[in-house]
């Protein structure tokens, strides 16, 4: 237990040191953490609006990963001479923005239609198709 704790602490120190030179890893760690928070929100919240907001969090985390890889690709192409494609990741991120806007519009329209019929936004009450 003690050894594991010191190992984790030394890992953390090493990680903070790497932060100075290795930004892709820190961006990906942040992206993973944000994705996990969003996934937890989708699973745990019972207000449909909060579920939709958590989906937005997850989409933002994915966008961050795309942009971090696109930025890393500039240096990768410079070092290795591979063909440069640094804009592709950004265009995927742009597509995700458009998708998120469409998803929010349709999802919120569904929420409004459901609320008009049932006067609730609680997922516990949405059980018509459970049986």
């Amino acid at each position: 237990m003690d050894a594991a704790l010191t190992l984790a602490a030394s890992d953390l120190v090493q990680w903070l040191g790497n932060l100075l030179t290795f930004r892709l890893a820190s961006c990906l760690a942040l992206s993973g953490a944000l994705f996990a928070i969003g996934a937890w929100g989708v699973l745990a919240r019972r207000n449909i609006l909060l579920v939709l907001i958590s989906v937005e969090l997850m989409l933002n985390a994915v966008m961050l990963a795309f942009v971090a890889f696109a930025r890393a690709h500039v240096n990768l192409a410079k070092e290795t001479g591979l063909p440069y494609a640094g804009e592709s990741g950004q265009i995927f991120a742009l597509t995700i923005i458009a998708l998120a806007a469409a998803e929010a519009a349709v999802g919120l329209a569904i929420v409004i239609a459901y609320f008009r019929n049932r006067q609730t936004v609680d997922t516990r009450d949405i059980s018509l198709m459970r049986h």
Binding site: I53, A70, N75, I91, L108
Partner: protein, 182 residues
Amino acid sequence: MVDLLFLAAAALCVISACAIVTCKNPVYSVIGMLPFFLGIAGLFVLLEATFLAAMQIMVYGGAILVVFLFVIMLINLRPEEIRDDFSFGRYLGLAALAGVTGGVILSFVRAGVPPDGELERAFAMGIGSREGQEAMSGGVLFGSAESIGLTLFRQYVIPLELVGVLLMVAILGAVILSKKKL
């Protein structure tokens, strides 16, 4: 300096994301989306994707946030109607959230980086060094609207049109779904 800014933006994102998923009142959650989106936009600026940062603020902060606020206003739940909103207890949920977040970060830490590996040097980003970047895309700077636009209309024209069709369908679907009587 850039590292401090990165840490600040990352902390802003994580803290506001935690606030979003743990606040009981949905209005606070939606307000919490604003610092989250601003933090993500700041990260995009630090990654030199300035056009995407502008798009992020305009579309998310300007459009999606306002639409969410509008829907909350339309639904207008009274405070006594907001029931216990969490599947497994609020504080247990917070502990689980901290555990999951820490676990993800630690797993990245444990996976580590090869000390003098090729990959590390290739992927080390070195933000702030502009030399070499401008030569990449025919003299066009990474992350500028020009470079994105050129790639978008040269390489990704069909996906662009498909996204247009998707937005059209989404608009029609939203109108049809939220109309009382067709």
